[in-house]
Symmetry: C2
Subunit: 463 residues, 2 copies
Amino acid sequence: MTEQPDSRFHGVSRKELREVRSQLLMLLEQGSLGQAKDVLVHLLPADIAEAIEELPEAQQAIAFRLLSKDEAIEVYEDLNSNVQQSLVEEFKRQDVLDIVDKMSPDDRARLFDELPAKVVSRLLGQLSPMERQATALLLGYEADTAGRIMTPEYISLKENLTAFQALERIRSLARFTETVYYLYVVDVARHLTGILSLRDLVTAQTEQTIGEIMTRDVVSVNTDADQEAVARTIQRYDFLAMPVVDREQRLVGIVTVDDVIDIFEEETTEDIYRMGGVQSGGDDYFQTDLITVARRRVVWLLVLLLTNTGTTAVIHSQEAMLQKVVALSSFIPLLIGTGGNVGAQSSTVVIRSLNVDQLESNHPMWVIRREAMAGAVLGLMLGVIVVIWAYFLQGSLAVAIAVGISLVAISILASVAGSALPFVFRAIGFDPALMSAPFITTAVDVLGVTIYFAVAGFILDKM
Amino acid sequence: MTEQPDSRFHGVSRKELREVRSQLLMLLEQGSLGQAKDVLVHLLPADIAEAIEELPEAQQAIAFRLLSKDEAIEVYEDLNSNVQQSLVEEFKRQDVLDIVDKMSPDDRARLFDELPAKVVSRLLGQLSPMERQATALLLGYEADTAGRIMTPEYISLKENLTAFQALERIRSLARFTETVYYLYVVDVARHLTGILSLRDLVTAQTEQTIGEIMTRDVVSVNTDADQEAVARTIQRYDFLAMPVVDREQRLVGIVTVDDVIDIFEEETTEDIYRMGGVQSGGDDYFQTDLITVARRRVVWLLVLLLTNTGTTAVIHSQEAMLQKVVALSSFIPLLIGTGGNVGAQSSTVVIRSLNVDQLESNHPMWVIRREAMAGAVLGLMLGVIVVIWAYFLQGSLAVAIAVGISLVAISILASVAGSALPFVFRAIGFDPALMSAPFITTAVDVLGVTIYFAVAGFILDKM
């Protein structure tokens, strides 16, 4: 949230935004700055930011300068970090400083994370003392903690104020805080003693004291709490904001609900990337250079390749059997592929449930047993089809039956691996999402061929 | 949000909740209802709901009856739909009716979606006229639209009220609406003409009129807008709520930010399930019976199996070559496995970006070309390792080189398929998430073995 985020409500569709963008570009190239300004003035900050991001770099600074000071601050907060950085470099000291000084401390801390250390220390040194203190406070906490994402701009009240006095105070402070909807009550040592909502205050009798209206038992988080845990708590209780306290229970800031949505999106992207075997860097994948991308992807690929050499070794050890019944080799990809898919399904549902705290109440063994049964059912359904197809393709009943039986066994095994490994990973302190589709698929490959050759060897011997 | 969601702020940790749960169970089994009530009275509704959900079914109704009427309504809204249903069946008519009558209309509509039609029509017939109208309104809209998730409980004002009069009105209505923080201005025909926040109102002069304070240009959505689009708009502009209008621009309800978080979670689960090849039913996977689970998973597995029979057919057609150089078969899983993993990585990053609207500004061809380059870089890095391993394992340089070259070609191809297919799917109107890891992996299998045999045939001929 920016200052007074809710005092404007214009908005445009994606299509209109595309039109605005090309119109803006045309006007800037023609040098019709007045008209370009008229185009921007009707948009909301988030839309202006998007229009500016799409401009060629040379035009970004020009377009940005067309904005009024107040607008510039809000738009700047909404820009992506690449554009924020290039604007810092484009501008003269004082221009940037004014904007950076007026940003909300949490957005500013996020910007400082991305900027070169030299620029940060220069900017930090020139902020007004109050803003410098606020920023230094946030930068002192580790990334992804409550301390880092909170804003120190909230309204605090003393217990002995009357509702009338409190409303007066809010009136005078409303412009400078992120939210006025939750009000925090502190004692002389700034310990958080209570909380009330603006709704409570507005509906109270004017002569009641804050101490009488407030709720004393407050849900708060510590500064070093993980940002995802904070977000989950806000979601759970449908809060609009949550107070952050230090070890001595002194109020130091609040986390607001708009940040929660962004945190969930960031954490979800990280989960999804992990599930796809891509290391996430917290930044935009498509803005990262190719070398970084390759580095983030190759680690997983190497691990998987190593696992796959196991599969190769197993097949290599069975070359005598393959030489005799060459038809066996045609079914390897089908068997391990299907096993991988069944396992990927199991790991997907288990990982997602673990990540949204849905499986707290179910015992892992219950989940694994259930997945094993699902695997058996699915394996049987697919196995019947595969036996027919295999017999039709190469005419040997023995091979066809070996393929069918292997498929059932592999499906059960894949379901068990897919559902058990995320639990194992969580138990040893890793993110269960690491045990996802690519890994399960590859692990099932090794086990799959082993089972297949064992079953085939046994059946070919008998028939 | 429930009525006055923010007037209580107690909260417990997961560990405490587990203790509460076992204590509660013990007390209920002993029949110490008074003590059980004392345990519950200190918890927030979301925590009480979770404690009740974990109880054996026989105890759920008993625990629920311990709650005060007001508490019961809030807790009931937080229960999962299975428990809500079983409670409806446990209770006598009047008990349920009181609770259902006092639920927020959007939560009630969600409950009615899950209940048997007979129960719904009985309950609906017995609601108070106002609540019946509100519920019927919501139930009239399609699932997953703005109309279905909105609440008709908001505060609307007329332009000619003064700020003072408006505050008086809010004071009297605050108990009955979901949020008092955004106020909607309508004309006599209920057309939405403006919006203001409680912050705007509190900071205004008492004699100013609403018409003077309000913002006229309002961002609103239509009743049939997709719920995810509504959520994205609220996220984009950091709103706390958003007005929903009918075709004639008349205000019919609002969507609040707490619902947005739940919508994102629901939509993300759907995306992740799709990416794992599991059809999602919008309900909790682990609460669904095994037959439904198997049905939702088998469709995808059959599609993939069909694709895999292609791989089998390709290998089968090359049995003559395999008979001659049996070592070739050992490397098939490694090659198609690695290809599948590279492709899964590409499809993961592209699908996620498409789903969070991040790729609007990049041309698909740019993305695909970039992924192809990444695939080439990764393929070369892995290829070198694989050549060495392949030579070491079976001693034939020709086979080792064929494996290495194939790996590079397969990696490029997999990256292109992984990044291009999501775009293709979106262009023809499907969810890009359908083109995810399992599908890419399987598609790459067929293409992979084809490339491998072509390369191997060529090299074995020459060397």
